[in-house]
Structure formats: structure tokens, C-alpha cells
């Protein structure tokens, strides 16, 4: 067991973890932050994506101990309670989700993508979300959601 200190969605936790525990399992099982989900065991699906120190990371591809000292934002922390982050609003407005299982990861990756590139082209959005699989939407409305989110965030700035 190893001691780690992480801040997740604004709460700082001190925990003992097994060195082999993946970050996503730490979040779900040790902290009960079950908004972040697991879709695969080969780091392909992106469903588990969170922000670690503001950069998107597949939380199944990182050990909990590697997150020691960092600040993590999950889907449950992107907006306060029942408020809406522009990316969340845009996904609802553009019907960018169906079953919603890929959605936590899609939203987190989209936030990271828009941080890096506030005005992405369709091709840049598609490339940027390459690591996130969705089986329901065919991506059409996910692309539209990210475009819409870019508009909303641009509008919020000006």
C-alpha cells in the first residue's frame, strides 16, 4: 500500500492504495466517483477520460499512485452540481449522446480539445476525438456538439 494525496473535483483525499490500482478503479471504487466509467481493457475506448492537471488522460492507462499530488477533474466536476458547462449544454442541444456511456469521456476530451484549439475545424474535431469510441451516434452529432460548444465558449468570452 502506498499513501497518495489527490484532489478530485475539488475535494482533497488522502488514501492508501495498492501500487497496481488503476486511476479509474481508484476513482470509482475507492472514492465512489462513478461518473467516470470503464469501457475496455486495452486503453482504446476513452470512456474513462478525465483531466489530470487540466490535461485529458485515459484514467485506465494511469496508476493511482502516478496521480499523487495532482488535481483531477471528472465529468462530475466540470460544472457545479446541476449547472451546465458549455460542452455539456452543447451535447444536449445537438443530441450528441444516446446511451450516454461514452459521454463522460467525450465531454472531457472535448473540453481538452477546445482548450487547445478554441475554433477547431470538423477534421480537427474528428482527429481530436480519435481516442474516444461511441457506438450509438455515428459521431455526426458529437462533431456538431463540439462546434456548438466552441461557439458558446467564444460567446462567453466576448
Amino acid at each position: 500500500m502506498q499513501h497518495i494525496k489527490v484532489t478530485v473535483d475539488g475535494t482533497t483525499y488522502h488514501k492508501e492504495v495498492e501500487p497496481r490500482t488503476l486511476l479509474v478503479h481508484f476513482l470509482r471504487e475507492d472514492l465512489g466517483r462513478v461518473g467516470t466509467v470503464v469501457g475496455c481493457d486495452t486503453s482504446n475506448c476513452g470512456a474513462c477520460t478525465v483531466l489530470v492537471d487540466a490535461v485529458s488522460v485515459k484514467s485506465c492507462s494511469m496508476l493511482a499512485v502516478q496521480a499523487d499530488g495532482s488535481e483531477i477533474t471528472t465529468i462530475q466536476g466540470v460544472s457545479d452540481g446541476n449547472d451546465w458547462h458549455p460542452v455539456q449544454s452543447a451535447f444536449k442541444e445537438c443530441h450528441g449522446l444516446q446511451c450516454g456511456y461514452c459521454t463522460p469521456g467525450m465531454v472531457m476530451s472535448s473540453i481538452d480539445l477546445l482548450n487547445e484549439n478554441p475554433n477547431p475545424t470538423e477534421a480537427e474535431i474528428r482527429e481530436g476525438l480519435e481516442g474516444n469510441l461511441c457506438r450509438c451516434t455515428g459521431y455526426h452529432n458529437i462533431v456538431k456538439s463540439v462546434q456548438r460548444a466552441a461557439e458558446l465558449m467564444e460567446g462567453a468570452k466576448s
Binding site: 444516446q98 474535431i125 469510441l133
Partner: protein
């Protein structure tokens, strides 16, 4: 964000989904999120061999491992080792091997369950699998269907004496009719094996709840009602002591239309151990243990006159069952049987299907279930026939399809298509696609010998939705009905519950069903709660698959809502001291005709019905109404899908440049949801054409059973789609709806493949295997060149 909705017009509007708030905030209740006190976690020892005798199994080593509570092989499980049922014995002499939850002495496919460990945490359970001792004696495996049915083949189930599950025949007039034909075209199409790969892995929790021996089971399923019945039947848990709940379910596509051995094991072990048992699959388990789809060899023969008039069609299928029969494994190819003639008129149709056992994961329903296979065959062979005749492929279709004035039309397969307008949908699609412009470009590229050739793929499809009239299911030997139920209740506070027997897993029923009820009750969408997927709260239902939920379930919502208004009218008339006929019902308020000041809203009626202080004689308290509707017939969505495909003739690289589809799904309740369903379906059909295919080596070892090798498309692999709709309302249900869940997946695969073949037909190619990877396309071109 709330949506302000004016009531009464809720039907047909693209209302934003009620489901989205919880899904977008990570507040969803997936089965794997459920963590009850005292839970033990199950891990499964699975067979690494496709076919082997279990010569030795000792689970006791696992018991010595930390945190382990119990371990079982088939011997230890004894009577609790129930078998997985198949509910569709398609012929009287169908061969159905025993399918015990834990293999008894022989394993029949990679991933077959051999033993289980239960530990107080999931990691300890997996660790303890290593401590079990198991020896196998590998047997020869049979993977290829044609080898499996050739004499002397290795048998998947020795005791059955054959690898043929069944042979099914329909029709019989083709051989006579074909004599009148001028042209006969034969092709063999391979509809490869696919993996549903819904994004939420399967998960199940079962727990004794301490109330009258009740076991509650939460499971990631499409069919909580059917599952409850079947689990009760196979485990002996009394049905009235079993409650099945499907919490939020992350996609299904037919893959969760199943009773899985893991569900049986979890239910039995929760009962045996008297504590909650939980199991969640890893993705790698999912890829070998969740049923697969498709996997047919299709020998197709089509006959026509020289002017293109169709004479007949002959279909000879081999359908891979896999190693065992699951819930409707043998029936899936027969769901396609009716649809091989597609939208075309012809005078003869012969169908034969041979179900074949192999040492592979069992197959069953996957988005479209039999209909994508049939649509692929007919739409591909129509292009081949057009090429043979030297006709424009759309022209050949136009010549043979059922004209809009000919509906209702009984097809050669015996179905009566109620409505449709193929001309209209096609005209719109051609316009959106710029069909003529692309044909011109195709010609100029061909003339100039461009390295990148252009092909145009057509798919003018129909499908049958709304499973199903119960009598039809009975005639097909399916052991259940196809009705659907709804109860509508107005609570004393005026809030409405719509209790449905459908069970969504991404379709947005909570939103769409609210719209239907709102349009009749005049109550705002946000005041309506749709209750579903819990046999404790929604006791009657036949669940969600086969694009049935709206076409069948929607009727029940409409009927129950109307009955509720009828009951409320009697109470309101009593309160307002008039006769029921003297009341208008406007936006949720009963008004006396000619004196709208005298009025009573539905909520007030509900309160009167609740207090029951002043009800008319003979009217029972509470305000609710129910309806159970058996559909009178199927509905038949149709559409025209067009794909512009570019093929690099030197590398085999295929690019989908433009995709247009115009679908006629009848009346739409929520066009935003309809469009989303079309997108997702089209993407899955494209995935079959270009990317996906589950393969095995000759020893039955899966070659790509994880998400890094089984290529489900990601965003850069697909374009945006151009979609539109036309509307000829269905006449088989009072809402005029048809169904849309499977349409895209059924239509798009042949559109893509026809486009690829069209691009390189001049090189001598007349078929390309799916998935059309660059390597496959390149090899096909090389082979055609070599053959010239």
C-alpha cells in the same frame, strides 16, 4: 436548462431529451455503479480452447486465496448449474445441444465458462482464478461452416451426431419459373461475423432483499421482463419472488437481448450464498462471451427477363449458430427470410436456410437481426443483375419496385406492405446526392484512367419493424407474444406516470413517450414521468428490440392515455354537473361546451378520484388506465441510401466521400431522435462494410477479440451524413409510426459495397469481401487483373 413546451403539440417536435441531464453530469445509474453492503464479486475461469475435454478441475486452491468466499465448477454447482434456454425452436426436429452455465465435461468455444470464484472484492476474485487447477485435452475444432456440414466432420456436440441445427424451407416455385427468364445471375456473398460492442460492458448484480424471499437482479439488459420469466423458469426461483431491473443501459444493439449464462450464475449464487453477488465483464470477456451477429454464407440466384423485369429469386443460406443456441439464435436468419425480395415484385421466391454449429461464440440478434443480411443480398444482387443486363442500377430498381399506387401490396414472401413511396424517397435522395453530377464525374475519371476511381452505391431498402403480431410469432414457433403494455396514472398532485413495458438503452423513450402522452393528455412533457425497465414498477412488458418500441409500445401509450381521458371525463362531468358529451377537453382541462368558465383541469379530476368523496356511482377511485396492445401487423419503413465511394486502384484504399439517405419512417414523434438513430445505424452498417469482422483461426482461436484489434470506427473514420425523411404514415398502427432503430444499419452496408464494386467493376471486379480493407480491395483488384 429547461425546455418550455406548449402542450398539445408535443408530438413531432425535436424536444431535447430528458435523459441527458443525468448522463451529462455523470449521475447515471449504470449497473456497475451499484455497490451493496456485503457484495461478493464473481470472476470466471473461461476456456482458452475452442474444443476440449476438461480432464481435471479442482477449484479448492482458490478457496485458500485471500478474500475468497466460494468457488464452483460444474460439479460443485450441481443442480444450480442451470442451462441457458433457447425460445425459438424453428423446426420440430431442430437440434438443440445442452448449454449449461458452467461447462460440464467439454468446452465448446473459447470463452466457455468453466468455473467461478467469489471474493469480497473484484481484484481478489480475479487473482484467485490462478489458484484453480484445470487440465484440458484439446479436441479438434470446427470453425468453417462448409467443413462442419460435410460428411465425416468433427462434431461440435458429439452426442448430437450432426453439426446441422436445422434446415428451413420456404417457397418452391423458383425452378419452374426460372425457365421463363432470359438472364440468371448467381453470387455468393459472405455476411461476416460481427460483435455488437455496445460501449457499456455487461454487468449484473443479484441480491436477496429479505422480503418474502425476493431476489432483486439489476442487469444491463434490453429485456428485463423476458429475462425475469426465463430466469425463473431455468433457476426455479419463483417468478413472483424475482424482480429484474435494467438501470441505465449503455447500448445494446441486440447484444443485450439475451439471457446470459453469467446472469443465471449470479442469480443462483446470490440465492445460494444469501448475499449480493456482482459480476462485470471485461471488454476482452465481452468479445468472446457476448453473443455475436451475422455470419452467413449467402448463395443468391436472381432471374430476370432481358428488359430487366424480375422473374424470381433463390436464396440458399448457411447460418452460423456458433457452439450453442441462445435465446433466438436459430430464428435470426428467419427474420431475414421475409425480406430477401426487398421492395421488388417477382413471381417466384425459394428460400432455404441451414443452421450450422461450429466451435465459435454463439450468434444471435445484432442490429437488424436477419434483415441486414437479406437487404445486403438483394441490394447487392440487384447491382450485379443491372451490370449483367447493362442497365443503370437505379433504373432496374425503378422498373421492379412496388409503385406507390400499388400499396397495400402482398409480396412474394407473403408479407403485406401497407404503405410506402419509393419514388418520392428516391427522388429526394438523388437530388441531395447530385446523382447525375457524380455519374458524370465517374465517367470522366474512368475515361481519363484516373488512379482514384469513383463508384456510386445504391440501396433502396425496406424492413419489417414492430415485432410482432403474436399470431405471426406463434406460426413461426416463437414461444412468446409480441404485444406491449402501458399504464397511465395521474397522481393526486397532478403529476403523470406513464408505465411502459419497453426498455430503452439509449433510444430516449423517456422523452418520446412523454411526448405521446402529452399530446393526448395535454399535460406538459416535464410533468410526465416515464417508468420503465423494472418488473417491480412496470410489471408487464415485452421489452425493446426489433424496432418495436414505438410501433407497438407507442400504440399502448396512446390507447391508455385515451382511456384515461375517457374515465376522467365521466368524473369531471359529475363534478361539473353536466353529461360527459357536453365536455370539451382542451390542453388538459375539461370545459363545458359553450361555457368554458365551467372547467376542471385533469389534476383536479385526479384529486377527486383520489379522495373519492364525490364520485359518480359505479366509478372506482384513483385515476389510471391501462392498455395491452397486440399489433395487427408489422410496419415497413423504407428509404433510399446513396454512397459515393472513392477507390485508389493502386493501394486499395477506400474513401467514403458522401453519404445521403432519405428514410421514410412514417410519422415521427421526435425528429431529432429519429435523425440520431439514422446516424448511428448508418455508422454501424458502414462499419460492417469497411472496418469490422470477427475472425477465428482454424483452431477456433479468436483473432481480434479486443478493442485494439476489432476495429469499431472512431470519429475520423466516418464523414458527416446528409439525411432527410419523407412520410407515408403507416396504416398498421394508429400513430402512423414505423420504427427507425435498425434502418440505418440495414440500409448502409449494401450502399457502401455497391459503391466500391461500382468504382472498380471496369477492372473485372464483381464482388469485394467485407470488411473492404485496403488489403482486401487491393488483392481483389490484383486477382481480377490476373484473371483478365
Amino acid at each position: 436548462m429547461t425546455d418550455v413546451v406548449d402542450t398539445g403539440t408535443a408530438l413531432g417536435r425535436p424536444i431535447k431529451r430528458k435523459e441527458d441531464a443525468r448522463l451529462l453530469h455523470g449521475q447515471t445509474n449504470w449497473t456497475d455503479n451499484i455497490q451493496l453492503p456485503g457484495t461478493v464479486h464473481m470472476a470466471i475461469l473461461r476456456s482458452p480452447f475452442a474444443h476440449a475435454k476438461i480432464t481435471h478441475l479442482d477449484v479448492s486452491g482458490a478457496l485458500a486465496m485471500p478474500n475468497v468466499v466460494a468457488a464452483f465448477g460444474a460439479a460443485e454447482l450441481g443442480d444450480l448449474n442451470s442451462s441457458v434456454p433457447c425460445v425459438w425452436p424453428v423446426t420440430d426436429d431442430m437440434v438443440a445441444p445442452d448449454f449449461p452455465a458452467l461447462a460440464k465435461d467439454t468446452v465448446h468455444h473459447v470463452g466457455d465458462c468453466v468455473a467461478v470464484v467469489l471474493a469480497t472484492d473484484a481484484v481478489s476474485a480475479v487473482d484467485a482464478l490462478e489458484a484453480m487447477s484445470v487440465d484440458y485435452e484439446p479436441l479438434q475444432a470446427v470453425v468453417n461452416m462448409e467443413s462442419a456440414i460435410s460428411p465425416g466432420s468433427t462434431l461440435v456436440h458429439e452426442d448430437k451426431g450432426t453439426n446441422t441445427c436445422y434446415v428451413y424451407n420456404l417457397g418452391g416455385g423458383y425452378d419452374e419459373k426460372v425457365k421463363e427468364a432470359d438472364v440468371v445471375v448467381k453470387r455468393r456473398f459472405i455476411n461476416q461475423r460481427l460483435i455488437p460492442a455496445f460501449m457499456e460492458p455487461r454487468s449484473v448484480v443479484a441480491a436477496p432483499m429479505g422480503m418474502s424471499d425476493e431476489i432483486t437482479m439489476w442487469t444491463s439488459t434490453q429485456i428485463p421482463h423476458i429475462l425475469r420469466l426465463l430466469i425463473a423458469l431455468v433457476t426455479g426461483i419463483p417468478e413472483n419472488n424475482l424482480r429484474v431491473i435494467a438501470p441505465d443501459v449503455g447500448g445494446g444493439f441486440g447484444g443485450k437481448l439475451q439471457i446470459y449464462r453469467e446472469e443465471i450464475l449470479v442469480a443462483q449464487l446470490a440465492r445460494k450464498l444469501g448475499r449480493p453477488v456482482k459480476w462485470t465483464e471485461t471488454r476482452s470477456e465481452d468479445m468472446v462471451a457476448t453473443h455475436h451477429g451475422r455470419d452467413q454464407i449467402q448463395d443468391i440466384e436472381i432471374a430476370a427477363k432481358s428488359d430487366g423485369t424480375l422473374v424470381g429469386l433463390k436464396v440458399d443460406l448457411k447460418a452460423n449458430m456458433g457452439a450453442y443456441l441462445q435465446i433466438i439464435t436459430p430464428g435470426v436468419p428467419l427474420l431475414g427470410m421475409f425480406m430477401y425480395p426487398g421492395i421488388y415484385k417477382m413471381d417466384a421466391y425459394d428460400f432455404q436456410c441451414t443452421g450450422v454449429f461450429t466451435n465459435t461464440t454463439p450468434t444471435d440478434a445484432y442490429r437488424g437481426a436477419g434483415r441486414p443480411e437479406s437487404t445486403y443480398a438483394i441490394e447487392r444482387i440487384m447491382d450485379e443483375l443491372a451490370a449483367e443486363l447493362g442497365m443503370e442500377p437505379m433504373e432496374l430498381r425503378r422498373k421492379n419496385w412496388i409503385k406507390h399506387e400499388e400499396f397495400p401490396y402482398t409480396t412474394i414472401a407473403g408479407l403485406t406492405y401497407d404503405t410506402g413511396n419509393y419514388e418520392l424517397a428516391t427522388a429526394r435522395a438523388l437530388e441531395l446526392f447530385d446523382y447525375e453530377g457524380l455519374r458524370t464525374e465517374q465517367k470522366s475519371r474512368r475515361d481519363s484512367g484516373d488512379r482514384v476511381q469513383l463508384g456510386i452505391g445504391i440501396s433502396t431498402f425496406t424492413e419489417m419493424c414492430g415485432l410482432a403480431p403474436s399470431r405471426t410469432l406463434g406460426a413461426l414457433k416463437y414461444v412468446a407474444g409480441g404485444w406491449e403494455h402501458c399504464t397511465v396514472r395521474v397522481l393526486p398532485t397532478g403529476k403523470v406516470e406513464v408505465i411502459t413495458g419497453t426498455s430503452p438503452h439509449g433510444q430516449g423513450h423517456e422523452t418520446a413517450w412523454s411526448q405521446i402522452a402529452s399530446s393526448i393528455l395535454g399535460i406538459p412533457v416535464e410533468d410526465i414521468e416515464v417508468v420503465h425497465s423494472d418488473t417491480g414498477r412496470a410489471p408487464y412488458g415485452m421489452d425493446t428490440y426489433g424496432s418495436r418500441s414505438l410501433a407497438v409500445g407507442g400504440q399502448a401509450i396512446k390507447a391508455a392515455s385515451e382511456r384515461l381521458v375517457d374515465k376522467a371525463r365521466v368524473i369531471a362531468a359529475h363534478q361539473l354537473e353536466c353529461s360527459p358529451e357536453d365536455l370539451d377537453y382542451v390542453n388538459g382541462v375539461f370545459q363545458v361546451k359553450g361555457d368554458p368558465e365551467k372547467a376542471q383541469p385533469l389534476g383536479a379530476v385526479a384529486f377527486e378520484a383520489f379522495t373519492a368523496h364525490n364520485l359518480p356511482d359505479g366509478v372506482e377511485p384513483t385515476l389510471s388506465a391501462e392498455a395491452t396492445i397486440d399489433p395487427q401487423d408489422f410496419s415497413y419503413p423504407h428509404g433510399t441510401h446513396l454512397a459515393a465511394m472513392e477507390v485508389d486502384t493502386e493501394t486499395g484504399k477506400v474513401t467514403l466521400r458522401k453519404y445521403v439517405c432519405v428514410d421514410d419512417v412514417g410519422v415521427q414523434v421526435n425528429p431529432m431522435i429519429v435523425e440520431g438513430q439514422v446516424h448511428g445505424g448508418v455508422a454501424q452498417g458502414i462499419a460492417q462494410a469497411l472496418y469490422e469482422g470477427a475472425s477465428y483461426d482454424e483452431d477456433g482461436q479468436p483473432q481480434n477479440a479486443n478493442l485494439s484489434t476489432y476495429l469499431i470506427p472512431s470519429a475520423p473514420d466516418l464523414p458527416s451524413f446528409i439525411t432527410d425523411t419523407t412520410c407515408t404514415p403507416s396504416t398498421t398502427n394508429p400513430l402512423g409510426t414505423k420504427g427507425v432503430g435498425e434502418a440505418g444499419a440495414i440500409a448502409s452496408t449494401p450502399a457502401i459495397m455497391n459503391g466500391i464494386v461500382d468504382a472498380i467493376r471496369h477492372l473485372g471486379v464483381n464482388d469485394v469481401l467485407m470488411p473492404a480493407t485496403p488489403m482486401t480491395v487491393w488483392k481483389t483488384i490484383q486477382a481480377a487483373k490476373g484473371g483478365k
